[in-house]
Symmetry: none
């Protein structure tokens, strides 16, 4: 890893507005150092020209690296060990299929001490509306907390509402969390989340493909969303209105072949309508708990939700059930009377009664057979 | 329709505890009057013996018919015009496949003035927990109201909680509603719903396969649930805990090839956990509004029926069209074969076939289902 290489990637990261597919291909072809040199001189294939024309004179690589260092950050490049290559592999596959979300970032500006590849190794994205309900924020915080508890990194976008609650929940559990921004990692956006972003950088990582100082823009949020989707093994949409940006992250998640999950909510709540659309269309899997998120994204056989064991008394079936139901509660009845009440053949009643006694559902008194006191059957109708 | 026939069915309805498959087969074979006679004398095939042994001496047919008449009711038998044969056809198909829920009732005790077949023509079941939340009851009432507004009969079980709210919502919109009971139609169960049941009988129908005076029992609720599932084109589970009886109705709905729907709710609410399980497993489709319920249950059946009335052959759409096109011209095929040919889910094929028959586009022969001779479909695709 040479300084020249990192400087080249830093320069290229500012030159082209992501996603810049043609430039990425050019870099893959000639290498980042030569590509940077050729871009500076404007000697690039025609497909790349338009992607670099506006900013190729802006060579601020050294200043940008200094700026990110000043906030405790660095530039992570594909040549680094901590490059999350396994997570971003999905973007490469999508690129090969010509999908819109298929663009591997040229580099990632990262603020915080943790190693990106380590945090991304087991990660789930938790996203949702900024205009979240109390319910949504509660669930996002619970999920964030539970995932962190389970050793899963929570990836989100640091926005108000669901994003913020998910980050906070993860940090409350002492877990790391990754915030992926649509602006420079030294830009506090939204402004009210300056403190939150500082804490995320302390305890986890603030990540962006945009160089320091760059301001957010609507299209950058959409571009950013594919990174959130790629960094998680799956994406949980906690709350989303019908036109929420979270639905864009959801679409990227599906396109990248990641597991898309949605949290149900009250159908009377507009902030859950986007989730319900995703459930109804079958795009998303319903998740009601952290255990279900882990089951849906986890490595097979390792993280399966503990089977819900039925520790209750076995349920009599068919004729046995009918005989049991026909048993009086107070004073025993003759098998013939129980046969009439249950509609079960008397001979069969006589053979079933001892079986019910054996499992403590029936007992005999002087008068006949009745329901056992122990035999309160806790099944539901 | 002779009195003898109705008396015979009334007698048989009390003799055997439903479901009584062997007795039903025996009736189909020798006819209800002869079957009743043979049952009285105990001269029945061995498979039937155990089903009738306990109660065959209880010949209360006249008294039962008088009892139901006293509460403004009657016995509806399969030989009647108002027998809901298209709804119950699903039970016959299920019976032919040996499914547990596949039992056509021997007769139906009905309280109210409306014609059963007319009410069942366009109906949706709305079910859920007795221990419903305020949210669940609100949604059940809204759905009941909206479905009634759209001309859809709301079918439910008259229990506390979701059932009651759905019935009330439908009646508040001036629509008819069907309550299917697990006891005699003259029995007020639950007791607190006596007034509600009276109003349902005024404005719609109270229905049961159990003779007058019969008390509810747990197994009778389970047996009853298949009728709720069969009478609706689909079932909406509004709220259900993990072990709610509504999940039994849900299972019958799927087994009968009806559309199973579930309403999402807060994941923090135990009363929605059964719904979320159904959504997560993919058994149920998420529905958030009456419009979605109507979309899911399809205008298909009604459109076709209306088209038939207008002496126009309706155009099957979507899956119905695919099923129609997959029908053989000469010799009937099994629903499974038609499912493979059409690429439509077998359960959906089984529910669509009776609808195609209803509009003379399909018919059944000994071997299975084929295109009807009348069914030259004059529409363009």
């Amino acid at each position: 890893m040479t300084d020249a290489l990192r400087l080249a990637r830093a320069y290229l990261s500012r030159v082209a507005e992501p996603p810049a597919g043609a430039l990425a291909s050019f870099i893959a072809e000639v290498g980042p150092v030569r590509a940077a040199d050729r871009v500076r001189r404007g000697q690039v294939p025609s497909a790349v020209t338009s992607q670099i024309a506006a900013r190729r004179a802006e060579d601020r690589a050294e200043a940008d690296l200094a700026a990110v260092a000043a906030v405790g950050g660095r530039l992570v490049v594909p040549e680094d060990d901590e490059w999350p290559r396994w997570s971003l592999n999905a973007l490469e596959i999508a690129a090969a299929h010509g999908l819109r979300c298929g663009h591997v970032p040229l580099a990632l500006w990262v603020r915080g001490k943790a190693e990106l590849a380590v945090l991304a190794e087991r990660a789930v994205a938790v996203v949702g509306s900024r205009a979240a309900s109390g319910y949504g924020q509660h669930v996002a915080a619970e999920f964030g907390h539970g995932l962190a508890d389970a050793g899963v990194t929570v990836v989100s976008g640091a926005a108000y509402g669901i994003d913020g609650a998910a980050h906070r929940g993860a940090m409350a559990a002492g877990g790391p969390t990754i915030a992926v921004l649509a602006c420079g990692v030294d830009v506090a956006y939204p402004r009210g989340h300056k403190g939150l972003l500082d804490r995320i950088a302390e305890q986890g990582l603030v990540v962006s493909e945009y160089p320091p100082g760059l301001q957010p823009a609507r299209h950058r949020f959409l571009t950013r969303n594919r990174l959130i989707a790629a960094l998680g093994e799956g994406t949980v949409v906690v709350e989303a209105g019908r036109r929420s940006g979270a639905k864009n992250t959801a679409a990227s998640t599906s396109a990248l072949g990641r597991v898309l999950m949605a949290v149900p909510g009250p159908v009377t709540s507009a902030t859950s309508s986007g989730c319900h659309e995703l459930l109804r269309s079958g795009e998303a899997l319903a998740v009601s708990s952290v255990a279900e998120v882990i089951e849906s994204t986890g490595r097979l056989g390792v993280d399966l939700v503990e089977a819900r064991r039925n520790t209750e008394v076995g349920l009599p079936q068919g004729e046995a059930l009918r005989v049991f139901e026909a048993l009086p509660l107070d004073r025993g009845a003759a098998p013939e009377a129980i046969a009439v009440e249950s509609g079960v053949d008397p001979a069969r009643v006589r053979s079933l009664l001892p079986q019910l006694v054996q499992v403590d559902l029936a007992e005999e008194d002087g008068a006949g057979w009745k329901r056992s006191h122990e035999g309160t059957w806790r099944g539901a109708t």
